[in-house]
């Protein structure tokens, strides 16, 4: 069964540094998402992306965050200047088409900010 792949599985970064989290969605999927889960808390929506633009973003997704689909296969989340509170598990998800569920999730990238 096709999978959403995320790399790296664990990223350790100094506070203030830029970090890029990578995702390869399922190949025929058109909608892409990032969620995050701070340790011990709920999974929270960050952003959805369709047709090379953001379709919805949450309050968490401020100017420090950006998303990109640079080459038609990868879907990246960039945090420009990381803060301690960015430490979390970040999940990528994709779905086949508008209004299509379920979303298929990757295994996540654990981001640790020191």
């Amino acid at each position: 069964e096709p999978e959403v792949t995320q790399t790296p599985s664990h990223q350790v970064t100094q506070m203030g540094q830029e970090v890029i989290l990578r995702c390869v969605p399922i190949s025929n999927h058109l909608y892409f998402y990032w969620y995050r889960q701070i340790l011990g808390q709920k999974v929270e929506f960050l952003v959805s992306f369709y047709n090379n633009e953001i379709s919805e973003k949450s309050e968490i997704f401020d100017d420090q965050f950006s998303v990109e689909r640079p080459d038609g296969s990868n879907f990246t989340l960039k945090i420009r200047s990381t803060k301690l509170e960015d430490s979390a598990m970040y999940f990528c998800a994709s779905s086949e088409r508008q209004g299509s569920w379920p979303q298929h999730f990757g295994d996540g990238t654990r981001l640790s900010i020191l």
Partner: protein, 115 residues
Amino acid sequence: AQSVTQPDIHITVSEGASLELRCNYSYGATPYLFWYVQSPGQGLQLLLKYFSGDTLVQGIKGFEAEFKRSQSSFNLRKPSVHWSDAAEYFCAVVGGSSNTGKLIFGQGTTLQVKP
């Protein structure tokens, strides 16, 4: 605004016992509801979903859930729990503009299974 509440943060059951995980939602229209399971170090796997129709839905791994509009609930059940069911379980609803498919999750319930 849409929201999901899972009242039980942690549940422990004995292997072979029945299980019910509670989920309450707040949503103005007919909700699309989901249960996901997360094993340690793994991503989120869909157990089952409800869109419309029969209010009792069957999922993978022997799980089922019942949609009760009058109670705004979508509780997950399993008649006989296996040790491999120990994991974190998340209830979710599609929120906001349904065109974007944004999922709103509950806090999660951690299931521990005693031998």
